[in-house]
C-alpha cells in the first residue's frame, strides 16, 4: 500500500539533518523516498505531465526548489485532482504556512521538516490513517496552537455576541478548529454543548470554555 512519498533532490542535506536529529527514515515502510536517479526519472515524467510514479500516495512531501514553477503548478494540479496533500519544504521559509483550500499545501522550513515532528506525523498517520498536518506544522506545539486559535475565535464570537442566551446548534462562526475535539478530554474542555446547542446562558457557557482554554494554555506553557 502506498502511503506517503518523500521527494528529495538534496540527499546530502537530508542525510545530514537526519543524522543530526537521529531520524531513521529509510526504515519506515510507509514512507517511499525518491531521490537521485529516481528523482531524475520523476522529473522527466512530470515534465511530460505523467504522474504514474505518484499515483496512490496520500501525501507528497517534496523539496520546494527541486521543481520549476511550471512543474510545481503541474504537481499542484495533480494534487487537486486526486485530493492529495502536498507538503513543500525549503531552506528559505521563515514561517510555516498551511493553505487549507484544495489542494492542501503545507510550506515548511527544511529544518523543521526534518525533525522529530516528521516522525510524529508519520506515526500518527500509521495509527489513524489520517494526515494530521498540525503535528507536522507545529510539532510538539501543535496543541498550544489549537488551544490559542480556539480561544481567539471564541473571544471574537463573544465580542460580537455579547450576552447571547441561546446557541441552537453548533455555530459556524465560532470557528472551532477540527483538531480541538481530539484534545478536549486531555484538557477537560467542556464541549458537551457541541451536538445539541446551548439552551440558556450561552454567553456564560462559552465564557467558561474560554477560561478552560486559558487554564489549558497555562498548563501547557507553564507547568
Amino acid at each position: 500500500m502506498k502511503n506517503i512519498v518523500l521527494i528529495e533532490d538534496k540527499l546530502p542535506r537530508m542525510e545530514f539533518l537526519c543524522k543530526e536529529k537521529e531520524l531513521n527514515l529509510t526504515e519506515i515502510k510507509e514512507l517511499t523516498i525518491i531521490s537521485d536517479s529516481k528523482f531524475e526519472s520523476l522529473k522527466k515524467s512530470i515534465g511530460k505531465s505523467e504522474f504514474n510514479l505518484l499515483e496512490g500516495f496520500k501525501a507528497i512531501m517534496s523539496h520546494h526548489s527541486a521543481w520549476s514553477q511550471k512543474e510545481l503548478d503541474s504537481i499542484k494540479e495533480y494534487c487537486k485532482k486526486t485530493n492529495t496533500v502536498l507538503i513543500l519544504f525549503s531552506g528559505g521559509i521563515s514561517v510555516t504556512h498551511l493553505r487549507t483550500s484544495k489542494p492542501q499545501v503545507l510550506l515548511i522550513d527544511v529544518e523543521r521538516f526534518y525533525s522529530n515532528r516528521l516522525i510524529l506525523f508519520i506515526d500518527a498517520f500509521i495509527k489513524s490513517e489520517e494526515l494530521n498536518l498540525p503535528i507536522l506544522q507545529y510539532g510538539k506545539n501543535w496543541k498550544i496552537n489549537v488551544l490559542m486559535e480556539t480561544r481567539n475565535n471564541l473571544a471574537v464570537f463573544l465580542s460580537r455576541n455579547p450576552g447571547i442566551e441561546v446557541l441552537d446548534y453548533y455555530e459556524e462562526s465560532i470557528k472551532l478548529p477540527q483538531a480541538l475535539y481530539s484534545i478536549s478530554d486531555e484538557f477537560e474542555l467542556d464541549l458537551s454543548w457541541y451536538e445539541n446547542g446551548i439552551r440558556q446562558n450561552a454567553y456564560q457557557v462559552l465564557t467558561e470554555l474560554n477560561k478552560q482554554l486559558t487554564s489549558a494554555i497555562k498548563k501547557v506553557l507553564f507547568q
Binding site: E111, N153, R160
Partner: protein, 569 residues
C-alpha cells in the same frame, strides 16, 4: 485621523465603523516568502493609506503561534522610508498575555518599546484607544536608536540560510564601505526584504559603518591573486575587482567559477588545474563550496579544506587567505594545521572586516614573493638529495655511510627551513633560515673538502685528491676576484671552503655568488655576536620597514645558496 487594522479575518474590531473601510486582510500568497509579502504590504498598502495608528492582530496566519503580527510590527519599525510610518503607534490585539507571548515567540522585545500598546479582543478597549489616538494622547516611537537598542532579532535559524545571510550581509556592508555600490546593490536586491537584514543594516552599530573608506588601498608589489568562492558571481568577484582597481598594473586578479552543484572531487580537480595554470601568489579561499559542504560539520571534510591541502602540496609558499562566515575556533585551528596562512571572517563589521582583509592580502603578497621561490627551490633540493643526485665521492668502504649521513643532515636542515618559513609567529624565521642554510653549506664543504683531501694519495693539504690545487680567493672592493694557489701553512676559513667547493665542481670563480656567500657567512657570524654586529637582527626589522630591500637582499642570499646546491648535483 485614520486608523488601520491588519488582521486575517480573526477579529471583531473589523465591525467598528472606524475600520470598516480601513482594514487589510493579511494573506500570504503561496509563492511569496513572508518577509517579502510584509515588505510589499507596507509599500503597497500601509504607506499609501497614511494611517495615524495601526492595530495589528498578534496572529495573522493559521500558523497561529508564529504571531506574525509581531513580525509585521518589526517590519514597520525598520521600514526605510516615510518616518511617519516608522514611528507610528502600534496597537497589538489579541487574547494572549505578555507572558504567554514571551514563552512562545522570539519577537516580543517590541512590546517593551515606546509607542507600542496592546489590547484584548474587546470592542470597548479598542474604542478607548481610538479616542486616545483621536485626542493625540497616544504617542509613537520617537527614537529609532532607542528602539534598536531595545530589540534583538536572531539570525535565521536554518544553517544554510544563516550562512548565506552572514555572507550577504558582509558582502553588502563591505562593498558599501569600499564604495562598490554595484555589488552592494546586487546584494540588496536579493535580501532587502529579509527582517534580519533590515535589522542589521538599521542597527545603530551598523549605521556607523555607512562611512566609506577614504581611498582604496594600493597594492604595490606585483602579484597574482585567485578567488575560489562559490559566491564569487553573487558579488565577491566584483567586490575584489573594485578593491584592486587602484592596483590594476600590479595585481592580476582571477576568479574560479565554482558551481554549488558540483561534487567535491570535481571542484578539487578544477581548482588544481586553475592553480597550476595561473600560478597565483595568493589564493582567497572560501571553505564551503558545494552543496555537501553546507551541512558538513567537520572542517576537514569541507571542499575548501581539501583545496587548501592541495595548494600546499603544489607550493607551500603560495599564500592562502581563508575567507569564511564561520567563526568557530575548531575550524580556525584545523585550517592553521592544514597550512592556511590567514583567516578573515566575513561578518557585519565593515571597517574591521575590510581592514583585516586588506592587511591579510598585503601580507600574503609579501610572504608569497619571498616564500614561493624559496619553497620551490627547497622542494627541488630535497627531492634531488633523496634521489641521490648529489655528487658522491669514493672514499673507500665508508663511502655509502658518509653519503647517507650527508643526505640525512641536509634533508633535516632543509625540512626545518620549510617548516620555519611558514611559521610567521617565529620572529627570527628569516635569520634562522639563513643560519640553517649556512649550516648546510658547512656540512657540504666538510663532506667534500675533507673527503677530497683524505682521498689524496699524496696528502699535501692544499691539494685535492684529484691533484687539483686548493685556491685562495681574494676579493677587492669592486668584487673582482683574484684566484691564487693555496699556501700550505694557511688555515682555510669556512668561506674559503665554500668558494673552493664551488670552484672545484664548476671550475669558475663567480664573484656575484661569492659576494652573497660572504654575506651569508656574515649573517651567521652576527648571530654569534649580536651585540657587535646587527646584520642578522636587522634582517627581521628590514622585513617590516622596507620590504622591497629585504626581499632583494634575502632572495639574493638564498638564491646563491641554491645555486651552490645545484653546483654539487
Amino acid at each position: 485621523m485614520k486608523n488601520l487594522l491588519i488582521h486575517c479575518k480573526n477579529t471583531s474590531l473589523v465591525d467598528l465603523a472606524e475600520f470598516k473601510e480601513n482594514n487589510i486582510v493579511f494573506k500570504i500568497p503561496d509563492d511569496l516568502e513572508v518577509d517579502r509579502y510584509m515588505t510589499n504590504l507596507i509599500d503597497e498598502q500601509i504607506v499609501p493609506s497614511q494611517p495615524d495608528a495601526i492595530f495589528i492582530k498578534y496572529a495573522l496566519e493559521n500558523d497561529y503561534i508564529a504571531f506574525l503580527g509581531l513580525r509585521l510590527g518589526y517590519h514597520i519599525r525598520l521600514y526605510q522610508g516615510d518616518k511617519k510610518i516608522t514611528d507610528i503607534p502600534l496597537i497589538f490585539v489579541g487574547e494572549e498575555t505578555i507572558t504567554e507571548l514571551i514563552r512562545l515567540s522570539h519577537f516580543t522585545d517590541i512590546l517593551g518599546t515606546e509607542g507600542t500598546y496592546f489590547i484584548k479582543e474587546e470592542l470597548h478597549q479598542a474604542k478607548t484607544v481610538l479616542q486616545r489616538v483621536e485626542s493625540g494622547q497616544l504617542s509613537g516611537c520617537d527614537s529609532s536608536a532607542d528602539f534598536l537598542n531595545r530589540i534583538t532579532i536572531q539570525a535565521p535559524r536554518n544553517y544554510d540560510t544563516r550562512h548565506s545571510f552572514i555572507n550577504e550581509l558582509s558582502l553588502y556592508l563591505w562593498s558599501r564601505y569600499i564604495g562598490n555600490q554595484e555589488a552592494a546593490e546586487q546584494v540588496k536586491k536579493r535580501v532587502e526584504n529579509n527582517l534580519y537584514f533590515k535589522y542589521k543594516i538599521n542597527s545603530e552599530q551598523y549605521l556607523k559603518e555607512q562611512e566609506q573608506i577614504t581611498e582604496l588601498p594600493v597594492f604595490e608589489v606585483s602579484s597574482k591573486i585567485l578567488l575560489i568562492d562559490d559566491e564569487a558571481e553573487k558579488g565577491w568577484e566584483t567586490f575584489y575587482e573594485h578593491l584592486f582597481s587602484r592596483s590594476e598594473k600590479k595585481v592580476e586578479f582571477k576568479s574560479l567559477n565554482v558551481s554549488r552543484n558540483s561534487s567535491t572531487e570535481d571542484v578539487l580537480v578544477n581548482a588544481e588545474s586553475a592553480i597550476r595554470e595561473f600560478n597565483p601568489d595568493v589564493i582567497l579561499l572560501d571553505l564551503r563550496l558545494t552543496e555537501q559542504d553546507v551541512f558538513e560539520k567537520d572542517p576537514k571534510k569541507l571542499t575548501g579544506y581539501s583545496i587548501l591541502k592541495k595548494i600546499k602540496t603544489i607550493n607551500r609558499g603560495t599564500q592562502v587567505v581563508v575567507t569564511s562566515a564561520s567563526n568557530k575556533s575548531v575550524v580556525f585551528r584545523d585550517l592553521l594545521n592544514a597550512g592556511a596562512d590567514n583567516y578573515v571572517l566575513k561578518n557585519a563589521e565593515a571597517i574591521i572586516g575590510t581592514s583585516s582583509l586588506i592587511e591579510a592580502i598585503k601580507l600574503a603578497i609579501n610572504e608569497a614573493k619571498i616564500l614561493k621561490p624559496i619553497h620551490t627551490s627547497l622542494s627541488i633540493s630535497i627531492d634531488a638529495i633523496r634521489s641521490d643526485q648529489l655528487k658522491k665521492l669514493d672514499v673507500g668502504e665508508d663511502s655509502d655511510y658518509y653519503y647517507e649521513e650527508l643526505k640525512s643532515e641536509l634533508i633535516s636542515y632543509l625540512s626545518l627551513v620549510q617548516e620555519l618559513l611558514t611559521n610567521r609567529n617565529n620572529t627570527d624565521r628569516f635569520s634562522i633560515t639563513l643560519l640553517q642554510m649556512h649550516k648546510c653549506l658547512e656540512v657540504i664543504t666538510d663532506y667534500y673538502i675533507e673527503s677530497l683531501f683524505e682521498k689524496s694519495s699524496k696528502p699535501p693539504q692544499y691539494e685535492f685528491y684529484t691533484g687539483e690545487h686548493a685556491h685562495f680567493f681574494s676579493m677587492d672592493d669592486g668584487n673582482n676576484i683574484k684566484v691564487i694557489k693555496w699556501k700550505k701553512s694557511n688555515h682555510m676559513s669556512i668561506v674559503q671552503k665554500f668558494f673552493n667547493t664551488y670552484h672545484y665542481f664548476t671550475n669558475r670563480p663567480k664573484s656575484s655568488l661569492f659576494v652573497e656567500l660572504k654575506k651569508l657567512n656574515k649573517y651567521r657570524n652576527s648571530y654569534s655576536h649580536p651585540n657587535l654586529d646587527r646584520d642578522f637582527t636587522s634582517l627581521e626589522a628590514l622585513y617590516e620597514d622596507d620590504f622591497k630591500s629585504f626581499r632583494k637582499s634575502f632572495i639574493r642570499v638564498t638564491s646563491a645558496f641554491f645555486e651552490f646546491f645545484i653546483a654539487i648535483r
